[in-house]
């Protein structure tokens, strides 16, 4: 095996090529050859010193040959081994210069803006279409309750609900601690420590517990829905389901939507409890507020209405997360990369939707004076 760097020398109209003219070793040589000044009417390329050559070496020489011949010079190749000869022939017959290759499709800013706009509109229309289909399928299913997939619902409920308990509980508890700590410092200045119960109770129950739970579920479960359905689409499992007469909507989408509609409100109640618990512990540690005092104040401060307002948002969030997750799963095309891209889109869209919807709820509630 040859092991010497590729190089060339020029003597009296002869280009002597030496060493390994292989892809791994060529590196700067093509540039050197391009910059070289070629005197005279003709050039003999002498390949006697070549130890090894591959397609790249042959192509570099062929490019040189083409350039010189185009400039009106005569080029002769000498002392090529049979293998090199074969490679040179390959380069001569199959080689194309960069300019002869089809240009890499390049998109202007305006075109890209237009395409993105149309894609967004299509996405919106597609989502509406999907919601319609899912609603129709759900209605049909309610007319034939025997076809409801209880096993799938139970499975999805376990995945989305039961298994999310530790993470939702932990985050809500920590959130309760943080709010109490931050609020407690301020309230103590006014000698109003007791009102920390109002602060934690109202903010957790009305706003933070529902939204933090929805965001966790969007990241945990919405993404899983997209990835699962998307992978099934890549491996043609969705088509297989259709071909054996199972509607993918009935088997894959509706049980997930149903399970999340049940799981998210329950998780929200759990987050309410853990958040207030976190606040209570922190109030005891930092503000010397006893548990009984805290609970007494909580009962006065937080009405059942505040609790219902918070929990009432959860089913809406659940429907949005499940529908977006499943819809994006069905948008997957062809490749593994597409699954990844759609999963990202699914999580971003559902978190965005949850926050926007929460804001709309706030506006509506203040308008209705709830």
């Amino acid at each position: 095996m040859g092991n010497s760097a590729p190089r060339f020398e020029i003597h009296a109209g002869r280009l002597l090529c030496k060493g390994d003219w292989t892809a791994r070793r060529l590196a700067g040589l093509p540039r050197q050859l391009r910059r070289q000044h070629w005197p005279g009417e003709s050039l003999i390329i002498d390949l006697g010193g070549i130890e090894r050559m591959d397609t790249s070496g042959a192509w570099v020489l062929e490019k040189l040959r083409r350039r010189l011949t185009a400039g009106g010079r005569r080029v002769l190749i000498e002392h090529a081994s049979p293998e090199t000869e074969r490679l040179l022939l390959l380069a001569r017959t199959k080689g194309l210069e960069r300019e002869q290759l089809p240009p890499v499709p390049h998109m202007g800013a305006l075109e890209s803006l237009g395409r993105q706009t149309i894609a967004s509109l299509r996405n919106a229309v597609g989502l509406l279409d999907f919601i319609g289909d899912a609603a129709l399928a759900a209605a049909r299913l309610l007319l034939h309750p025997g076809r409801i997939r209880w096993r799938e619902i139970a499975h999805a409920l376990g995945e989305a609900g039961h298994k999310a308990l530790p993470i939702v509980g932990l985050l809500a508890f920590l959130l309760g601690i943080v709010i109490t700590y931050q609020g407690g410092v301020q309230l103590r200045l006014y000698g109003a420590s007791i009102f920390v119960a109002d602060l934690v109770g109202l903010s957790m129950l009305r706003e933070l517990a529902p939204i933090i739970t929805a965001i966790i579920v969007a990241g945990r479960t919405g993404s899983a829905y997209t990835a699962q359905i998307g992978t099934m689409k890549v491996t043609e499992e969705i088509d297989a389901l259709r071909s054996i007469g199972v509607a993918p909507l009935e088997l894959l989408v509706l049980p997930k939507v149903a399970a999340l509609l049940i799981a998210l409100p329950l998780l929200t109640v759990y987050a309410d409890f853990m958040g207030v618990l976190g606040g209570m512990v922190m109030a005891n540690v930092q503000l010397d507020l006893s548990y009984t005092t805290f609970i007494d104040r909580l009962q006065d401060a937080v009405s059942v209405k505040s609790y219902l307002v918070g929990v009432g948002k959860a089913p809406v969030f659940a429907a949005v997360i499940a529908i977006i997750g499943c819809y994006q799963g069905f948008q997957v095309t062809g490749s593994a990369e597409s699954v990844g891209r759609r999963t990202t889109i699914s999580v971003v869209q559902s978190i965005l939707a949850v926050i926007v919807i929460d804001a709309l709820f706030s506006i509506a509630f203040s308008y209705l004076e709830i």
Partner: protein
């Protein structure tokens, strides 16, 4: 060790190769050599361990026991850098192509060149285009994504990527599986053309009797956890060993033999 003079270099040397998954033995004590420039086909029934053997030879799977030498180097004694250097010297065509879905065909072919060489981008694109055309695709096809290709085109593109660095050794895992007869014939033809143009040693795993007759210099039959027979296709087809005869003298084997004889 080093073969000088008349004897050809052994590109692959397998000694006492044994593979077990749990209590199941895939193959035991397998020995064989593959010489430079040969086209060797590995055949055998489903589950006879052809693909496992291929994965062991390509360093994708560690055998339970035995040694594999690639280009004279025992692969289990190499460190990560040496293994990488060795990997650059062979190319693999995976059964389903395994083209990267997020890249165009041309980018797929350019990937090994960009990873392992310091060539300029223009040159890399031109070299990828040569391999693309050598594998029988049009330059315009280079702009397509793998999901837009037909089965035959995908195999061709994958073969072009496997050949990107002009490997000395080429592994083909079921190159004609899933192709219609015409595309399968064309792919066999392409393998022969690649062989003529770039001269690699080729090891292929296949079920395709026609491929065996057309492109294989030697055939190795795996079965019952060992090498049942090694030889040219013509020799194996005449074998009286019942296990060998059952494999090559079924209706498909006969039809392929007739076709090979007729052409």
């Amino acid at each position: 060790m080093n073969d000088q003079g008349t004897e050809r270099e052994r590109v692959i040397e397998v000694r006492g190769l044994t593979m077990r998954f749990g209590s199941k033995t895939v193959h035991e004590n397998v020995d064989f050599d593959i010489l430079r420039g040969e086209v060797v086909a590995i055949v055998g029934g489903s589950g006879s361990g052809k693909s496992t053997l291929l994965r062991e030879m390509t360093m994708l799977q560690r055998p339970t026991a035995g040694t594999i030498r690639l280009f004279g180097q025992a692969v289990d004694r190499l460190d990560e850098r040496q293994r990488l250097a060795l990997r650059r010297r062979f190319g693999i065509l995976f059964q389903n192509g395994a083209l990267f879905g997020g890249e165009t065909v041309l980018e797929n072919i350019a990937t090994p060149l960009l990873e392992h060489t310091r060539l300029e981008r223009t040159l890399v694109d031109e070299l990828a285009a040569i391999k693309l055309r050598l594998s029988g695709l049009a330059v315009e096809d280079g702009q397509l994504y793998p999901s837009q290709l037909s089965g035959g085109m995908r195999k061709r593109a994958a073969l072009a990527r496997a050949m990107a660095l002009d490997p000395e050794l080429l592994f083909l895992d079921e190159p004609t599986s899933g192709l219609d007869p015409i595309s399968a014939d064309a792919l066999d033809e392409l393998v022969l053309e690649l062989k003529a143009a770039l001269g690699p040693t080729i090891v292929l795993v296949t079920h395709d009797m026609d491929s065996l007759w057309r492109i294989a210099d030697r055939v190795m039959l795996l079965g019952e956890g060992r090498l049942l027979a090694v030889g040219t296709m013509a020799a194996l087809a005449r074998s009286t060993d019942p296990a060998v005869a059952r494999f090559f003298n079924g209706p498909r084997g006969r039809a392929a033999m007739m076709a090979a004889g007729a052409s």
